[in-house]
């Protein structure tokens, strides 16, 4: 199969089966593009995740664009984007058109009562895997704990946290060069 359909199908599959927003897609995207397809390395995944988080917009869409770029240039980026967006677009359109009430069923509620805790588990796992591979120093782990505390306990604005992170990262880079 050509590369673009492969990229499209990979993201389509992930987009179609992950319920609960973009962060749920993250562990699946990592498993698909790093472990299974071996399109990019763990380190590159971390780079693209940084791009995705530093850009505005929908995080999972940003990530699909950056990975698509790496695998097959601009057409690859558009293939990834289309795959990530299409399931969401189609399912919402159907719900809006047909007013399906399936999301009020007791079976589905019970399903989500089990699936949602697992979601937090697999997202936690992707942090664990990426940290083990990409964080090498004590100060990086300390920074992870401090920023997480800022976000969780003080509900710090994510934009400010990203900007603060960039300022600190620039300072670290500058000091390393002097």
């Amino acid at each position: 199969m050509k590369k673009n359909p492969k990229i499209f199908l990979s993201f389509l599959k992930i987009g179609a089966f992950t319920i609960g927003g973009g962060f749920v897609m993250l562990p699946l995207i990592r498993q698909e593009v790093v472990d299974r397809r071996k399109w990019i390395s763990e380190e590159q995944f971390m780079h693209f995740l940084t791009i995705a988080q530093s850009s505005p917009g929908v995080m999972a869409v940003n990530l699909s664009l950056a990975i698509g770029w790496e695998v097959n240039g601009f057409s690859g980026a558009l293939s990834g984007l289309l795959g990530a967006v299409l399931p969401s677009f189609v399912s919402i359109l159907l719900i809006a058109m047909l007013f399906l009430k399936y999301f009020e069923s007791a079976w589905l509620t019970a399903f989500f009562k089990g699936a949602v805790p697992a979601t937090s588990g697999v997202i936690g796992a992707v942090v664990f895997v990426l940290a083990r591979k990409n964080l090498k120093s004590f100060s990086q782990y300390a920074a992870l704990l401090v920023t997480t505390a800022l976000l969780v306990f003080w509900q710090a604005n994510p934009v400010l946290v990203i900007i603060l992170g960039m300022v600190v990262a620039l300072w670290v880079t500058y000091r390393r060069q002097v």
């Binding site: 995705a52 664009l65 967006v85 058109m97 697999v122 990426l130 994510p158």
Partner: protein
């Protein structure tokens, strides 16, 4: 012109929403309810709840739903394209810059990226924590979350199967 307004609103959401997922909801709320009255507040929260139960990113779900309510199928296409357009431009630019500096073998880029890594990971960790706070209500749920964490780190099991299995466990335990 309604399509142009839809386009502008969701383009703005695409440019100014940072942090991903539910962090973008206050901004969407401002554009859709305060600025344009396209939905009422209860309607909006229903959309957010539905968005959480349908596939894909919440931002896309909101754009598609509101676009359809305001301007039919064409409206949903316009809103969805508008919300991803800033991403295409900005991510492509950042990707290009990253590639250029990495190709030059500039060590400073690697240092910068490794200094940013903890911040980026803290955002993901925060997502996991807030989902856990919302979704974990009893001891059984804690066990499910722990089992999912261990399976996802220690085995190569497809993560979809982990999530699906947890859903089935939910039906057995809570139905």
């Amino acid at each position: 012109m309604i399509f142009w307004q839809l386009f502008l609103s969701f383009f703005r959401i695409g440019i100014f929403s940072f942090g991903g997922g539910y962090a973008t909801i206050p901004l969407i709320e401002k554009e859709i309810i305060v600025a344009h009255h396209w939905l009422t507040l209860p309607q909006f929260y229903q959309v957010v709840a539905v968005a959480g139960m349908t596939p894909g990113p919440v931002g896309i779900n909101c754009a598609t739903f509101v676009g359809y309510r305001v301007g039919g199928v064409l409206g949903s296409i316009v809103a969805t394209i508008a919300v991803v357009l800033p991403s295409i431009i900005i991510v492509s630019a950042l990707y290009y810059i990253l590639k250029k500096y990495l190709a030059k073998g500039e060590e400073s880029v690697t240092v910068f990226l490794s200094a940013m890594a903890p911040v980026v990971l803290s955002m993901v960790l925060t997502a996991a924590i807030s989902i856990a706070r919302e979704g974990i209500s009893d001891f059984r749920a804690i066990l499910i979350a722990l089992a999912a964490f261990i399976l996802a780190t220690a085995t190569k099991l497809n993560i979809l199967y982990i999530l699906g299995g947890a859903g089935l466990a939910g039906i057995l335990l809570y139905k």
